[in-house]
């Protein structure tokens, strides 16, 4: 047996390679650069690699290849779109991560210890978050372009591990933050065990670990489908966990609340894109012909997810938890795109993911701005009268909320419309109806926040709005512009998506 050297298409892999390179530079910076210079250097390196990666993605937008990395990676239209979305969302998230007020000064110090206080006084910063972010983004880029189960698993871990770590790095309420890291980690590992177990059965079923191989096995048949079904079920547990679908959602409210807000923003938005990207690919390509087996399952989960997320969100008193439940509800809406299993469904999902992701980052960016002397204020009762004190911030937040609620002239509406129409087209009427009804419930709590901000008199408790740093401003402004623009005139983006969104096999 001769060994033939592997051939990698570096152009197609370049976005990921750039990020990994950037991350390595970041690690080196940590090791060798003086403390004072680290923050700015890390930020530049991170942003630079992200932008460069985005540029590379743009350059390869018309490429279609399964051979980029010996069949492990597939680059096609959806891949480009998803990677671009992840990169854009990451860039605006990094602007938030650059906020030094959010991260602990020294993660190893005990909360409340002398050491911590000293670290705070000296202005120490955990600049390691930048390379960690880059690793996570690289994993996210890889996740939706993976073309076999190994790569998928590795990518899953690669995007998860940095997030587990970052969740624990909050500056305030550190015990809660560490707790969120622990919960995220334990449950994440638990779900990835299911994922792996499912992968084993898929391998058993198809004698192949590539998506194409699984697809061929599904098409070809032979034997019965027990292994396939077990495989799909357990693999789905892992994926549904990542997107936060009921009943695999339980981590997300706690983690969203405990993690530093920029990390929450990043993981809420970018992880969702990556996870749904992977999900779309595997369901649309490998499992497409076994549609009968998983559509009912996903339909039920989607409906429960929407309704549950919307209902529980009503009862929330904390803005981050509320957004977490809202994101659960949105996971339900997005699942309809997977269920649709048609080209409109794919296009709609990609549009929705992008629109939702950008709005989410924008929303959390606003959350970082509302503070009192002890840091962020996430208790909704203390958001009362925000519209009076800071009309622009409140208006922007209202804009994001309206987009989440799917009010016309915001991107959320176009997203919902397109995803529901795709689902309807594929005959999944029950999901559409459930989606519509839970949208009403969801609207209720979004509106409640608007009422709090605009129609309730402020309480004088020192809650104020930080004058946004220029980076945060960029995030907010960009997000709101995208949210409105995609609501008013989405045609160019939809066209772009439409021309690219076809999975190759």
């Amino acid at each position: 047996m001769e060994f033939s050297a592997p051939v990698l298409n570096y152009t197609l892999l370049s976005p990921m390679l750039i990020l990994l390179g950037g991350a390595l530079i970041g690690v080196l910076v940590e090791a060798f650069m003086s403390k004072a210079l680290r923050p700015i250097t890390q930020l530049s390196v991170t942003l630079g690699s992200l932008v460069l990666a985005l540029f590379q993605v743009w350059k390869i937008r018309n490429e279609q290849s399964t051979g980029a990395a010996m069949g492990s990676v597939v680059i096609d239209g959806p891949a480009v779109l998803l990677q671009a979305s992840i990169l854009i969302i990451s860039i605006i998230s990094v602007f938030l991560i650059a906020d030094t007020e959010q991260f602990t000064a020294l993660a190893a110090s005990l909360p409340g210890s002398e050491e911590e206080r000293h670290a705070l006084q000296t202005g120490n910063q955990v600049t390691e978050v930048y390379p960690l972010t880059l690793f996570a983004v690289a994993g996210m880029l890889l996740f939706p372009v993976s073309n076999d189960l190994i790569t998928l698993f590795v990518a899953l871990e690669m995007l998860s591990l940095p997030l587990y770590l970052m969740a624990g790095l909050s500056r305030r309420r550190r015990l809660a933050s560490q707790e969120s890291a622990l919960k995220y980690f334990l449950l994440g590992a638990f779900s990835s065990a299911f994922f792996l177990f499912g992968a084993a059965f898929l391998y058993g079923y198809s004698a192949s670990i590539t998506f194409a191989g699984i697809r061929n096995a599904v098409v070809g048949g032979g034997g019965n489908d027990v292994f396939l079904l077990i495989g799909i079920a357990f693999l789905s547990v892992g994926l549904l966990f990542k997107v936060g679908a009921v009943p695999f959602h339980a981590w997300s409210p706690d983690v969203y609340q405990g993690a530093p807000t920029p990390v929450t923003a990043f993981m809420a938005a970018a992880t969702k894109v990556a996870a749904f990207g992977a999900m779309l690919r595997i369901y649309y390509t490998s499992f497409a012909n076994a549609q009968w087996s998983w559509t009912p399952m996903l339909t039920i989960i989607a409906i429960i997810t929407m309704v549950f997320g919307s209902l529980v969100a009503i009862a929330q008193r904390d803005v981050k938890r509320m957004l977490a439940y809202s994101s659960i509800a949105h996971a339900g809406f997005l699942l309809t795109g997977v269920i649709a299993l048609n080209k409109p469904g794919l296009e709609a999902s990609i549009f929705y993911l992008f629109a939702y992701g950008v709005a989410t980052v924008g929303g959390f960016a606003i959350v970082t701005l509302v503070r009192d002397s002890a840091g962020e204020v996430t208790d909704l009762n203390r958001w009362k009268g925000l519209g009076k004190r800071s009309p622009w911030v409140a208006t922007a937040f209202a804009g994001f909320l309206l987009s989440f609620a799917g009010i016309p002239l915001t991107s959320g509406f176009i997203g919902k419309f397109s995803i529901f129409s795709a689902a309807y087209e594929s005959g999944a009427k029950s999901v559409v109806i459930a989606g519509v009804l839970s949208s009403v419930i969801a609207a209720f709590f979004y509106i409640r926040v608007i009422v709090l901000m605009f129609f309730t008199d402020p309480v004088e408790d020192g809650t104020g709005v930080e004058i946004p740093s220029s980076l945060t401003s960029i995030t907010v402004i960009f997000s709101i512009i995208v949210t409105i623009a995609l609501g008013v005139y989405p045609a160019p983006v939809l066209n772009f998506i439409s021309t690219l969104a076809t999975f190759i096999r």
Binding site: A405, G406, F444, I447, F455
Partner: protein, 502 residues
């Protein structure tokens, strides 16, 4: 003026201009707002003049590609029905601005924001009636909620934010049901010759009767909430109670018309068979609304809630006229929409002035106003007479047409509905007696009568009410061809005289 798009852009320009005015100079703000609405009104009237009355096709048609991926166009065009409603909206707008000159002062935000919201709303009001693309219609239908929401919640009184939320949730609920139907239409259009939202094309879709029924309900419930039809009405009294008078005028006078307009334009056009299937049920609801709204109005202690309930009764009439499926009922309903706009406007505006002077909206707090403030009292009285459809007032013509038109096909419904006119006498005369008649009660002795601005604002409303009562022909001539067209398309002909089946 012959471009609907331009017409829609005018208020937007106005609101941009408003944004540029200094915050401190509120008078300038108001003047700009007034000027804008006046220009829009003039432009609309000019448009109406060049409207070809006998042409049943859509006129002033414009179409621009908007979201080609989904086959969505920015398509507008009007027929007689839409023209009449646009006319009503744009004429009401300057009146509302002028009448509510000071009503923005108690709000959470600046006066400027108030008028910007009003102007944005005006654009949407034109758009919602002019849209010929279902998607465009839906977008405006839903987007309209936002400015109204802020107008109620930000500038109203009492439980304004709760009322605003109730309004919004109710409307969103209906809107989302409609969205489901629209999605279904869209998908079906894709199966039958390409995705489109064009109303004309969609009206020719083939669909099973079950599908049609469900989709019809999706649309109808949305419109029934808007209209509002019993039992989906409970948001209206709250909203009207809390909103400023001007907002209430726009809410009840214009926005709620979108509901009845939608029933004609969308329910009947898109789902003719389902419309027929549901007609008996809807007629019953309409009749209940008429009687129920009247009874509830009689039972109210709050002036604004009372007016709101009278509107529920009136919307019952409109709905009944629409689903009577006769040309009289249809034209009557359309005319009713126009007339109701003005008579409700008169009631709310004058009622609003009374309330702002007295500082209370409880009817029992008034008394003997006729002696203290004769002009205001008379205005209210005339508005009330219009509301109870006194002959000689515009609403009589429309109400009678609705009744006659209904009677020829559904005599029982018409008979029950006619009892509403007795109740109408009660619900108008009770507040008239309590507020305007009787001895002047303490607290009312020094109320000031209408000032010149208010007189100028109310005069055209009353003039229109009376003029159309005696000479409704100009409107009917515009409405009739459109109504006849709809009726004919549904395959209905007016019942011939039965001669008592002799």
């Amino acid at each position: 003026m012959n471009s609907l798009t331009l017409l829609m852009l005018l208020p937007i320009f106005g609101s941009v201009a408003l944004a540029a005015t200094p915050k401190a100079n509120e008078t300038l703000t108001k003047q700009v707002a007034l000027a804008t609405t006046l220009i829009v009104a003039a432009a609309t009237i000019a448009m109406a003049v060049s409207f070809q009355r006998d042409n049943v096709d859509l006129q002033f048609v414009e179409k621009y590609s908007w979201i080609p991926t989904f086959g969505i166009n920015f398509a507008v065009g009007i027929d007689g029905l839409a023209l009449v409603l646009i006319l009503m909206s744009t004429i009401l707008a300057p009146i509302v601005v002028l009448a509510g000159w000071n009503e923005a002062h108690g709000g959470r935000w600046s006066v400027k924001v108030f008028y910007m919201l009003i102007l944005v709303l005006e654009t949407m009001m034109i758009g919602v009636f002019a849209a010929t693309d279902v998607f465009l219609f839906y977008v405006i239908f839903e987007a309209m909620l936002i400015p109204v929401y802020f107008l109620i919640g930000g500038y109203g009184s009492g439980q304004r934010s709760a009322a605003a939320v109730k309004f919004l949730i109710y409307s969103l609920f209906g809107g989302l049901l409609m969205l489901a139907s629209i999605i279904a239409l869209y998908v079906m259009s894709g199966d039958q010759g390409g995705h489109t939202f064009d109303l004309q094309t969609l009206s020719h879709l083939q669909m099973s009767s079950t599908t049609q029924n469900f989709l019809f309900l999706g649309f109808f419930i949305a419109f029934a909430i808007k209209a509002p039809l019993w039992p989906l009405h409970t948001w209206l009294p709250d909203a009207a109670e809390s909103a400023t008078p001007g907002t209430s005028v726009l809410l009840l006078g214009v926005l709620d018309k979108v509901g009845t307009f939608g029933m004609i334009r969308y329910c009947l056009t898109l789902f003719p068979d389902a419309s027929k299937t549901f007609t008996p049920m809807i007629l019953v609801l309409a009749v209940i609304s008429i009687v129920y709204g009247a009874f509830l109005a009689i039972g109210q202690r709050d002036l604004k809630r009372l007016i709101a309930f009278t509107s529920i009764s009136h919307f019952g009439f409109i709905t009944m006229g629409i689903f009577a499926m006769t040309s009289q009922g249809h034209s009557g309903a359309t005319l009713y929409m126009f007339n109701h706009g003005f008579s409700t406007a008169a009631l709310f505006l004058v009622g609003g002035w009374m309330i702002s002077r007295r500082g209370s909206s409880t009817i029992a707090d008034f008394g003997g106003l006729q002696r203290v403030t004769p002009v205001m009292a008379w205005s209210f009285f005339l508005a009330g007479m219009s509301s109870l459809a006194l002959p000689g007032m515009s609403s009589f013509v429309s109400e009678f047409l609705v009744l006659v038109g209904t009677f020829t096909r559904y005599p029982v419904h018409a008979v029950v509905a006619t009892f509403g006119i007795v109740l109408a006498a009660l619900y108008i005369l009770i507040p008239v007696q309590k507020a305007l008649h009787g001895p002047t009660t303490p607290g009312n002795e020094n109320l000031s009568d209408l000032n010149l601005r208010e007189k100028i604002a109310i005069a055209p409303v009353i003039a229109i009410i009376i003029a159309l009562g005696f000479y409704p022909a100009p409107l009917l001539k515009v409405i009739n061809p459109a109504s006849a067209h709809v009726i004919a398309q549904l395959g209905f002909t007016d019942p011939a005289p039965t001669n008592g089946d002799k």
